[in-house]
């Protein structure tokens, strides 16, 4: 298990934020667990989907940090299948995702990037 440095995000959490930001920019504001697992697989070199426990624990943490918000899908929209929990980036989440993206870009360059810090909401 990866140990968390206080005030920072774990690599998977950063990946989730980056994936959520790309989805948001492609016009998909909300996403659900399995959809996210697929997006993460497509964006990485891995052939397997993120484990259930790992994925939902990370989503829960991001929600606790105020970077994501979630709600249950409307029963009518579910059309008979189990209702999905829909997640969305919050304003704070968008900023953290942009910061994470900038950090990743910097990591590819000559100076290593730093993981985004979870600062309080600016007043």
């Amino acid at each position: 298990m990866v140990r968390r440095k206080p005030g920072t995000l774990l690599p998977l959490e950063t990946e989730i934020l980056a994936a959520a930001l790309s989805l948001l920019r492609s016009g998909q504001a909300s996403f659900h667990g399995f959809g996210l697992a697929q997006t993460l697989r497509e964006q990485s070199t891995s052939r397997s989907l993120t484990a259930h426990g790992t994925l939902y624990k990370a989503l829960g943490r991001l929600e606790e940090f105020g970077l994501l918000s979630s709600r249950w899908e409307d029963a009518a929209a579910a059309e008979g299948r189990p209702r999905r929990r829909l997640y969305e980036l919050t304003g704070h989440g968008v900023r953290a995702a942009e910061q994470a993206r900038a950090g990743t870009a910097a990591q590819a360059g000559p100076t290593p990037g730093r993981p985004p810090r979870l600062g309080p909401e600016p007043a």
């Binding site: 968390r4 697929q38 397997s48 259930h52 426990g53 790992t54 939902y56 624990k57």
Partner: protein, 142 residues
């Protein structure tokens, strides 16, 4: 083993590691897994993946997440426990203080310095317990 059998196994495992947790938290995790498993099976079948391969994929996702499931449960239990313990500690502090004050007052009437000393010790203990509980409660969970 069909994907549905493995999906049922995932839900059984989820029921096991969410046992004793608040209903809302446990229910949310289980419902979210139901939706995930349904989407997973439907998506793979739509893309022509064989049932055996889907079952292995679901089993792999469950197995790889076991340590995170357990650590998630531990963290939830710690928070839930943490919400009850301060209340019990404050109640204990109030009871100690009440007992201490009673001992001081009645010790005065009976001219019993021993009882008064015990009362003072109880009051000091109550103050210490109250301060400790409040200071711990102010710390943010990690």
């Amino acid at each position: 083993m069909t994907p549905e059998h493995i999906a049922a196994l995932v839900i059984r495992w989820a029921r096991f590691y969410t046992r004793g947790l608040p209903t809302a938290i446990a229910g949310r995790r289980i419902d979210e897994l139901h939706a995930d498993l349904y989407d997973h099976i439907t998506h793979e079948r739509t893309h022509g993946t064989g049932d055996r391969r889907i079952a292995v994929s679901i089993l792999s996702r469950m197995a790889r997440g076991v340590t995170d499931d357990v650590s998630w449960r531990r963290r939830i239990r710690r928070f839930e426990g943490a919400s009850v313990k301060p209340l019990l500690a404050i109640l204990a502090a109030v009871a100690l203080a009440a007992f201490g004050v009673t001992a001081i007052v009645f010790g005065g009437y009976d001219d019993s310095p021993g009882a008064q000393l015990i009362g003072v010790l109880f009051v000091i203990g109550a103050v210490w317990l109250g301060v400790r509980t409040v200071r711990r409660g102010r710390r943010l969970p990690g």
